[in-house]
Every structure is written in C-alpha cells, then in structure tokens.
C-alpha cells in the first residue's frame, strides 16, 4: 500500500510571499524499545529522514529519532520566488520510502 500523506500548501502565491506548508505522514514510528505482550522485543521501525526540495533545491532536511511521535507532522515556511514543484520525500527503516509532489504557481 502506498503511504498515506496529507499535505497543505497554497496552489498560488505572490512573488516574495511567505508560504506555509504542512505535511502529515501515516507511520507507526515504532521506537524499538517496546516488547510484545509475550515479551518479544518489537524491532525499531521509524522514519529517519524527511527532505523537501523546491525545483530540485533542498529547502528543508530533518532527521527523525525514536522519540518522535507516530504519524510525524511537519510545518515550515519558505519564500516563493518562482513557480515550481515542491517535492517531499521520506525515508526510513525497512526500506520505507514515500514521496509526493505539488505545484505552486507564483505570480
């Protein structure tokens, strides 16, 4: 199943405007310190990296650790200088990878 993601960002912005973007990714963020009801350790399964790029240029990179809650949420701002594609990618344990792209039209 493809990862579930909720992204909010404006589709249009004025040149020089500060744009707010939020991302919410469905992920269990199993921290690796817990045990099952029968005492078996539950292996770590977390997202380790989040990257946002605008027209290919990195504008945000975050490393995630076991203490971060399930379904990690990011909110950030950037200055819209030109129209382009905002590209999000998440990487994690067990080969987890998810990505989304949205277009922002700068007038």
């Amino acid at each position: 199943m493809t990862a579930r993601v909720i992204i909010t960002a404006p589709t249009k912005a004025k040149k020089g405007e500060i744009v707010t973007v939020t991302t919410l990714l469905a992920h269990v963020m199993e921290n690796g310190f817990r045990h099952s009801s029968t005492g078996v350790p539950i292996p770590r399964d977390i997202v380790t990296e989040f990257v946002a790029r605008y027209n290919g240029a990195e504008i945000l990179r975050a490393s995630l650790y076991p203490a971060i809650a399930a379904n990690p949420y990011f909110a950030f701002e950037f200055v819209a200088e030109e129209s382009g594609i905002l590209d999000f990618s998440w990487m994690g344990d067990n080969g987890f990878a998810a990505s989304r792209q949205i277009a922002i039209n700068v007038e």
């Binding site: 579930r4 909720i6 992204i7 909010t8 939020t22 919410l24 469905a26 269990v28 963020m29 809650a69 399930a70 379904n71 949420y73 909110a75």
Partner: protein, 262 residues
C-alpha cells in the same frame, strides 16, 4: 418539576422520546454537558480542529478509498449503492447505535458497516477494529461532524437501561463505577489530565496515548483495565449497551469524529 412540565420542556428543546428529563434524574444536566475537547489542552484542540494536523484524517482518506473500492462477490463498492458519502452518510454516525427492525437487534456503526459488507457486497467481514474497518468507520463518522447526537429510538430503551446499569455498577479491584469518575468527578484531575464526562461524540478517534486510531470499545477496555476490572471479551454485548447508553446520555452534543484526545 412535574412529568408533564419536563415533557413540555423537552419538547421545547426539540428533544424527542428517549432523553426525557424525568429519565435523566441523576445524570449531568443538559446545560452542563461538556465534550472531552473542552477539557483538553488548547494544543490538542488545535490538532483536532485542523484537518492538516489531525492524524485521524489519515484514516478518513483511507476510508474514502475503501468507500469507492469494489469488493466481494457482488463486486460492489459502498458508493455504488449509497452514492456520495457526504450526502448518504450525513448524520448516520450521530444516530447509531440504532435498532435494526429487519434483524430485530441493535447495531452500532461498525456493525452496520459489517452487515453491508457481508450481506450486500458478499465480502468477508473486515477484521473488527482492524485498520480497514476503522478507516471506513472514520470516513462514515466524518460525515456527521458538527451534527447533534440523536438518541431518540424508543426501541433502544431496554439496551440503554442495561447500559446504564453497567455504567453505575461497581467493578474491579478499585471497586469503582464509571459514574464515580465521569459523572461525579468530571473536570477534576487524574494523573495530570482532566477527567472527562465520558461522552462518545468523537469516536472513532485518534488518541495520543495510543499513538493511533481506535474505537469506543477500545477506550472502554482501557477504562475497565484502569479500574482493574477484567474487560469484557472483544465484541461483547456489554460494549454495545454501554455505547447506546453513552450516546443517549450525550443526546444533542455535536459529533467531532475523527476527534483527537490525550
């Protein structure tokens, strides 16, 4: 107040049949009903109110996909019979549990969805409280957000009464009833959090303690464990009775599904 007086008063407030004032003796008065969202922190409230930040919406979008996906030997999607959920499912969660005259039994929303899936779609039942069942329930319940809980079905009375009896019964090693916390001491602190009034208006919901999405039944199991009582078995009729009673008790309160709770 006389019985007639309370009937007239109930009529004035548009409250039909079930929640008549004389039946509410010993209950929290209508004017003092408070949703759990009014007793939690502003941060958690903000998380619930913003669809971009409410993790419950992740289950809602999965539920929307399931609503439109064909399933079972009948090769039907929910949408093939019901159409757009925004119209067809509006208010449905607010009036469950409901009495199903055809089957002569009460059902909650999860039960209604399962019946449709098995009888209409001819598909195997989804795992109870599994991710898909929760997602569909979340999507259907989302269509009642902001609508008032309507517990007005006279046929549910016996179930509501047995739910009330369970709610008032002392249980577990701590010898507590639900009412000791949620009717008599709501608003006071227990382990740093305000005790809620125990309303079911946000379910299914995302609970920060769970780090996940869950049903009212799961929440009731948590409460029973907290009282050091043995939880009823999964799917037991006691949960349905408690749900019917809690919905009746919360009659008129707006639905918040998918809510966020601490």
């Amino acid at each position: 107040m006389t019985v007639l007086g309370s009937r007239i008063l109930a009529g004035l407030f548009g409250v039909a049949l079930a929640p008549l004032a004389e039946l509410r003796a010993g209950e929290i008065p209508f004017a003092e009903l408070r949703s759990g969202s009014e007793l939690m922190s502003p941060d958690t409230r903000a998380m619930q109110d913003a669809d971009s930040a409410n993790p419950g919406m992740l289950w809602v979008i999965e539920g929307e996909a399931l609503w439109n996906a064909k399933a079972g030997a009948a090769n039907l999607a929910c949408a093939d019979c019901h159409g757009a959920a925004e119209l067809a499912m509006r208010g449905v969660a607010a009036r469950h549990p409901a009495f199903d005259a055809k089957r002569n039994q009460a059902v909650n929303l999860a039960g209604s969805i399962e019946w449709c899936r098995v009888e209409r779609q001819k598909a195997p039942a989804l795992t109870a409280e599994g991710p898909e069942a929760l997602a569909l329930e979340a999507y259907v319940a989302r269509q009642s957000r902001g609508l008032s809980i309507a517990s007005t079905d006279a046929a549910l009375r016996p179930l509501i009464e047995s739910g009330r009896e369970l709610y008032l019964r002392r249980q577990g090693q701590l010898d507590l009833s639900c009412a000791h916390c949620h009717t008599e001491n709501w608003g006071r602190k227990l382990a740093g959090l305000a005790l809620s009034q125990g309303h079911p208006n946000g379910y299914p919901l995302y609970r920060l303690e769970w780090q996940s999405f869950g049903s009212l039944e799961r929440r009731l199991r948590n409460c029973l464990t907290g009282m050091r009582a043995e939880p009823y078995p999964a799917g037991a009729s006691e949960y349905l009775a408690l749900e019917a009673y809690l919905k009746w008790r919360a009659h008129g309160m707006p639905m918040e599904s998918p809510a966020v709770r601490p």
